[in-house]
């Protein structure tokens, strides 16, 4: 497991290393702030950050960038902030470690975070695909309707024509349908 700890408090960083002793292979690197390790971030499986670090905002923005390969984030939470940990998890933090936690639990928290994160990534991917499929189907239906109206075809013939266009051009059905709608708009004088 490759773990990056962003925390100016060396004791907490040491706690993580201690808790993971025995995990092989293991690499734990700690830094007081994100910028010092920014270029190396791709080399880690999980990031552990203190909740009072201003770098939380930077980590959140990384999650937004689709091009960036996201990493699960585990947060150290101060016990004086009840409920914060749960809210952070809802906002996308994978798991949390409450201050003063025994080193022996660190390993399980990180492992749970990794598993949970991978599961969430998969669900998100599935959802995005389902949404894209649904959007493509709507576009195909609109293109079919257009062909039926303009060319006087029945539904099946309109669909076959679309499929032929897609196969001839070697492009996905949804893309061909979208083009057809766009061109039809232009011909009608739209933009």
């Amino acid at each position: 497991m490759r773990v990056l700890v962003i925390d100016p408090d060396k004791a907490r960083a040491a706690l993580v290393a201690e808790g993971l002793a025995g995990v092989k292979p293991l690499e734990v690197r700690s830094a007081p702030s994100f910028e010092e390790v920014e270029s190396a971030i791709d080399g880690f499986d999980v990031i552990v950050i203190a909740c009072d670090s201003p770098d939380r905002d930077t980590l959140e923005s990384l999650r937004e960038q689709t091009a960036h390969n996201p990493r699960p984030v585990v947060m150290f939470v101060d016990r004086s902030a009840p409920g914060l940990a749960e809210a952070a998890v809802e906002a996308g933090v994978a798991a949390y470690v409450v201050d003063g936690l025994a080193a022996k639990r660190v390993r399980s928290v990180l492992e749970v975070a990794l598993t949970r994160f991978q599961l969430m990534q998969k669900l998100r991917g599935d959802l995005a695909k389902a949404q894209a499929d649904l959007a493509a189907r709507k576009t195909i239906d609109r293109a079919k309707g257009l062909l039926m109206k303009e060319r006087g075809l029945d539904e099946e013939a309109a669909y076959q024509l679309l499929r032929k266009l897609a196969m001839d051009s070697g492009r996905p059905l949804g893309a061909v349908a979208a083009d057809l709608i766009a061109y039809a708009n232009v011909l009608k004088g739209g933009s």
Binding site: S33, E35, C51, D52, S53, P54, D55, R56, D57, T58, E60, S61, E64, A81, P82, G83, L84, E86, A87, A88, E90, A91, A135, A136, K138, T139, R142, G174, A178, I181
Partner: protein, 372 residues
């Protein structure tokens, strides 16, 4: 009634700090603890969790959180700052010096970097959901610079911005006061264009109150708003601005040099940062819709979110007006709901009732085309 409010170290946390320092909360029978937070993410999470009852909050953050915004804390105050090196490069390419400065000269600098095979420029904001992110994106896109492809857009905590700029790994940023002035004073960069020149009266921070708190303690909301409106009126008084700069500069609040705070509070130009004047406190539905539009433009929310409904749920001018009237600070009342907004620097009119048309008319953006 005891309550806890969060804030971030910025000049526009002034209404909260003033209400606390001047005893205005006590006047209204409230026992308020202010808590300086390290990140916007913490503000959002703590308010959502009830660890804070409310906070100084980025308006676009409030619009995507379980809060109500019964008060807008300020207008104007942000600026786009370029590093010394980039400012020099861009200045050389600025032949017609438009006012306010557009990003066209920057576009030429970027094109040249691409030709020379130099690394892309890095621009920073303080949070992805912020007026700073949307002003910067709007300004870049207006000149044909795609903020998601032609530059690298990142988030850097403002207190570290000067060091990052001096190190050469941040070339420009957009943030609220006093951070542009702090960077200038450190010799790391130059305020290139004031946000108020891009959009006079741009909405910025709001008071975000946990929706659960407002529902549980409706009788505390009005005293809280009255205290903050009185503080905003005090903070706008020119005679009080020196004192305000001194108070804010203290380690417990913004923790920055007084000179940097004076820059936004006592500036030479009009349309500067204000808290109450020009109806700055009124949470305008049209502002909420403009911001939601930008959130949508850059693909940060699901297309299915009902923006009209969201704006109505979060922004609560009714609560503001009740409090403003009670302290004699209300001006044009509900008229502000229908008054058209001052356009941005590109002059494009914004009609909140026709948000989709407005978004269609804007260049670039990651918003999927309808039907796809």
């Amino acid at each position: 009634m005891r309550l806890k409010l969060g804030f971030i170290a910025l000049t526009d946390c002034a209404p909260l700090v003033v209400a606390s320092e001047l005893g205005l909360f006590e006047d209204e029978g409230l026992d308020v603890t202010l808590s300086r937070e390290a990140s916007w993410a913490n503000i959002r999470d703590k308010v959502a969790a009830g660890a804070l009852d409310g906070a100084h909050m980025l308006a676009p953050m409030a619009l995507t959180a379980p809060v109500i915004a019964p008060l807008s804390l300020n207008a104007n105050g942000s600026s786009i700052t370029l590093s010394k090196a980039l400012a020099e490069q861009v200045r050389g390419l600025d032949d017609d010096e438009p006012s306010p400065r557009t990003a066209h000269a920057l576009r030429r600098a970027i094109d040249r970097r691409v030709e020379l095979g130099e690394r892309p420029l890095t621009f920073a904001v303080v949070f992805p959901f912020s007026i700073h992110a949307y002003l910067l994106r709007y300004w870049l896109a207006d000149a044909g610079i795609d903020p998601d492809h032609d530059v690298r857009l990142t988030v850097v905590p403002p207190p570290r911005m000067a060091a990052r700029m001096l190190a050469g790994d941040v070339d420009g940023f957009c943030a609220g006061a006093p951070w542009g002035a702090v960077i200038e004073a450190a010799g790391a960069g130059e305020i290139w264009v004031q946000g108020s020149r891009l959009w006079r009266g741009a909405p910025d921070k709001v008071l975000g109150l946990a929706a659960a708190f407002a529902a549980r303690e409706p009788n505390s909301v009005q005293p809280l708003l009255r205290a903050l409106i009185r503080a905003a009126v005090w903070a706008d008084e020119p005679a009080n601005r020196e004192t305000l700069a001194e108070i804010l500069s203290r380690p417990a609040y913004v923790d920055a040099p007084v000179a940097a705070l004076r820059r936004a509070l006592i500036p030479p130009e009009p349309f500067a940062l204000h808290f109450h004047a020009e109806d700055a406190g009124y949470p305008r539905r049209s502002h909420a819709l403009w911001l939601l539009g930008q959130i949508r433009r850059w693909g940060q929310i699901d297309e299915t979110v009902d923006v009209q409904q969201t704006a109505g749920r979060v922004y609560r001018p009714d609560l503001y007006l009740q409090a403003a009237e009670a302290v004699g600070a209300a001006t044009r009342g509900r008229l502000l709901d229908t008054e058209p907004l001052t356009p941005l620097f590109d002059g494009r009119a914004f009609d909140p009732a026709r948000l989709d048309d407005y978004l269609e008319s804007l260049p670039l953006g990651r918003r999927p085309a309808p039907g796809r």
